[in-house]
Amino acid sequence: MNYYMQLLDTMPELILSLGGIVLMLAAAWMGDKATATISWLAAACLALAAISLGGPTSYGGPAFDGLYLADPFAAFAKLLIFIAAAVSVVIAPRFFDRAGGSRAEYPVLILFSTAGTAMMVSAGDMLTLYVGLELQSLAAYVLASFMRRDGRSAEAGLKYFVLGALASGILLYGISLVYGFSGTTHFGGIAAAMKTGTSGGLLFGLVFVFAGIAFKIAAVPFHMWTPDVYEGAPTPVTAFFASAQKVGAMALLVRVAMQAMGPASHQWQQIVIFVALASTVLGGVAAIGQSNIKRLLAYSSINNVGFALMGLVAATPAGAASVLTYMAIYIAMTLGSFICVLQMRDLDGNPVETIASLSGLSRTRPGLAAALAVFMFSLAGIPPLLGFWAKFVVFDALVAVGMWPLAMIGIATSVIGAFYYLKIVKTMYFDEPQGRFEPSSSALEGGLIALSALFVSPLGYFAIPALGVASLAAAKALF
């Protein structure tokens, strides 16, 4: 394959990087007053990148000596990532305008971070993985502290950076161990080495690699940063972290687990089972005491990651497909919830984040309350909302490989989670109104909320066959 063809395989990343550089220059010259234009251009870049997924990037196969993999799995994950990133871009200008001036770097940083995320889900080699991850993270650290005058945001950025650097170190250490004991950083080579037997060193490397990635997906016991960062970061950034980044890291984990460490599945299954159950339980229990909606959503994301990981435990194509389906439905729910949070402003236009301020929302803003209730019930996995289907496919994959005891325990932990989702619904519907929110003035936010609520509603069930076929085709690329 010639060089040109290989470059074509990386089309989405090319579009994003070039677009990012051009827009960065534009931002430098035109200044903050061009933020709106740059945001829309950045969204257009993401849309273009998404369109380019229809090209060779979804079927081209290994490129650059296997460093980069252009397969349906990466394409599926990238599509989700681009959609989530585009949403995070378009909802931002309004938020930052009201928070004391928007800055043109925001969409640019999102583009870079997205390029890194896209690179890491396409990684076929530990080094591509690491470079992609770092590009994604570096931009993310800046994004977390984007409102630098706000103490909470600065704190979030610092915490994220310090703990993120630690996680990167752990990951890198794991990679070096794996390299040392297998002699290669290439996923296929590692798998071949593991097939001949898992030595102690390789096992050590495996544990460290999983720990590093577990940090990125915010799974227990590497979740400590999540509530603080989610709370402190500006809401559009939190939405980005909870959706695009989460999908990227999750897809990365699935790929590493299946493609690089597939032969050692019995070893890592134990890790993933523990991490998954710990996440669902802790994500459920710790959320109960929260009074800030963003912190609550952070714990909810931990909880959901736990369920998605259970699909990985199955270690089958159906299991990997279930993780992708889960993430697809999850980003709709989580983006919808965060846009609802964006709508939470008191009559003076100041953002409010306490759960108590939602009291009686069903009287003052019935539409918003209904949408948020749909997201909450859906996150809890109650049918007939689509969040049920996400859990369904995961447990279906588990039961198919005979792991029904784990499925039993896992699904029982979902009841813990249901409790705090119900708490939000209770606050909105059963409590008397206290204070009012300002009326909605953004057709864009309203439209996005309506769109994601419709997707999550029973109407979304019509998407199930397509989602099933696409995710299974994507997952089969790993085997």
């Binding site: 069903s362 019930f377 109650i382 049918p383 039993m408 619904v425 519907y429």
Partner: protein, 517 residues
């Protein structure tokens, strides 16, 4: 398609759904929207009732087991598969019959957020009909579980003082019961390679697996039913729910548990049903006696009727596990009768609650003097609840007990004491409410039934007599299906204590008795 040439079941699901959406989005002032919602809700439920009559009239008795079948594989992993047999038919009829009455009962008593209220009820109706009509395992689960959302909102928004606690308890209790069932369903669908309920009803699962599957399904249906000791959510939910919510809870939602037993537990896991026979019988015997005694000491009318529901549902489980035609037919009739009678009793409570705003029994007394029409209907439903011959309650309870006697005379003995206790607490309730001197001035000022209330009671009373005097109308559609069920479970018949070859069967009976003590 079916004998009618159009997808009647889908239509019955779609009409309330569309009405719910319209009630929510209709424009206008608050008053206009409320009135619109009431009219739309009543209209939609009446149309569904009319369709239900069409369904019943065109149901071919002795025809194919599954009728009005619809199938569309639109969802991939599971199908939009609908179809009913006689058992589902009568329960669907019960649903569509009670719904317009519920709307009528809420006409005046609900004044806040009427569109949302009506939408929740209409959604509830869709999901309830869906539960009985679903022919796909997962479609059933979705409908079964989806009902939690509207009921949670109904209890939580329009309920009494302690509504939040009750709504949480209702939701989490039933959710925990049901999620285990989902895993069992997944296992079954992988084992059998299909999600089609009629096929699964003919599938023989391995014995070892049956026990586990049975327990998982039992966890769900026992909570829904509810059986002792997982019944505690019911009194709380009933007491706090608005009148119509209680009616639908007692009238239809509890029947989903019984329907689950008859549709899943017995035909799919006959050996496990035999093996765990004593769990059901033991719990039911305790429930009959214990909850009847608890009902006897209640001060709150709704709580009393709620506990009586638990006792009646225990008769249902006894009948269902009696392994005989009498038992199962009786259980079905008790379900139907209890749906009507307990619904009507909750309406009776609602009528006087609307006037005096208290459910405390001691606050009333002597109502037969100033509310003679009310007292008459209340008496009728009290008698039907006790199981007086001529009313619907008698036929079902009698058949259930006959069935129970065949399989275990001890069970029949204990269950019959429950009937006696039932007479005690119901008559005691009636005496305290309707008889005695009319000494309290605010009670004396209460007016008799209005035309609207009369219109709610008369159809139920007519149905109660119909079922009591000529139960054949209700038994005929079910006969063939119960025959099929019996043929299916015959191989696992635990036998009766009259059979000399099963001497050992008496031993667990004593155990269960000891447990009760």
């Amino acid at each position: 398609m079916n004998q009618l040439g159009f997808p009647i079941l889908s239509l019955m699901l779609a009409i309330p759904m569309a009405a719910a959406v319209w009630a929510l989005v209709a424009p206008g002032s608050e008053e206009a929207r409320a009135q619109n919602a009431r009219v739309v809700a009543l209209g939609a439920t009446l149309i569904d009732f009319a369709l239900g009559i069409v369904l019943w009239a065109s149901f071919r008795i002795g025809g194919p087991q599954w009728q009005f079948v619809e199938h569309s594989g639109i969802f991939g992993r599971f199908a939009w598969a609908l179809g009913i047999d006689g058992i589902a038919l009568v329960l669907t009829m019960l649903t569509v019959f009670l719904m317009p009455i519920c709307i009528g009962a809420s006409w005046k008593s609900i004044t806040t957020r009427v569109p949302e209220y009506m939408a929740a009820f209409l959604l509830m109706e869709t999901l309830m009909i869906g539960v009985f009509a679903a022919q796909d395992l997962f479609l059933f689960y979705i409908m079964f579980e989806g009902g939690l959302i509207p009921m949670y909102l109904i209890i939580g928004i329009w309920g009494g003082a302690n509504r939040i606690y009750a709504s949480y308890k209702f939701f989490l209790y039933t959710l925990l019961g049901s999620v285990l069932m989902l895993i069992a369903m997944l296992w079954m669908s992988h084992y059998a390679g299909t999600t089609d309920i009629p096929t699964l009803m003919k599938t023989d699962f391995p014995r070892q697996a049956q026990t586990w599957l049975w327990l998982a399904f039992f966890a769900s249906f026992a909570v829904k039913m509810p059986m002792w000791p997982v019944h505690t959510w019911l009194p709380d939910a009933h007491v706090q729910a608005p009148t119509a919510g209680s009616v639908i809870l007692a009238g239809v939602l509890l029947k989903m548990g019984g329907y689950g037993f008859i549709r899943f537990l017995l035909p799919m896991f006959p050996e496990a049903s035999n093996q765990l026979f004593w769990i059901v019988m033991g719990l039911s015997m305790i429930a009959v006696v214990y909850t009847s005694l608890v009902a006897l000491v209640q001060q709150d009318m709704k709580k009393l009727i709620a506990y009586s529901s638990v006792a009646h549902m225990a008769i249902v489980t006894i009948g269902l596990f009696a392994w005989s035609r009498q038992g199962i037919e009786g259980a079905m009739l008790v379900m139907l009768s209890h749906g009507l009678v307990s619904g009507a009793l909750f309406l009776c409570v609602g009528v006087i609650y609307d006037r005096l705003h208290t459910r405390e029994i001691d606050r009333y007394g002597g109502l037969s003097d100033n509310m003679p029409k009310y007292a008459m209907f209340f008496l009728l439903f009290t008698m039907a609840s006790i199981g007086l011959p001529g009313t619907s309650g008698f036929v079902g309870e009698f058949l259930s007990l006959v069935g129970a006697y065949r399989v275990q005379s001890w069970v029949a003995f204990v269950a019959t004491t429950g009937i006696i206790l039932g007479a005690c607490y119901m008559l005691y309730l009636y005496r305290r409410i309707a008889y005695g001197a009319l000494t309290k001035p605010d009670v004396a000022a209460m007016t008799d039934l209005s035309a609207r209330e009369l219109a709610m009671f008369v159809p139920i009373a007519a149905a109660v007599f119909w079922m009591g005097i000529y139960p054949e109308s209700f038994l005929a559609p079910m006969r063939g299906d119960i025959g099929q069920l019996l043929a299916r479970i015959e191989r696992a018949d635990p036998g009766g204590d009259g059979h000399p070859s099963k001497v050992a069967a008496a031993e667990p009976a004593q155990l269960a008795m000891a447990e009760k003590r």
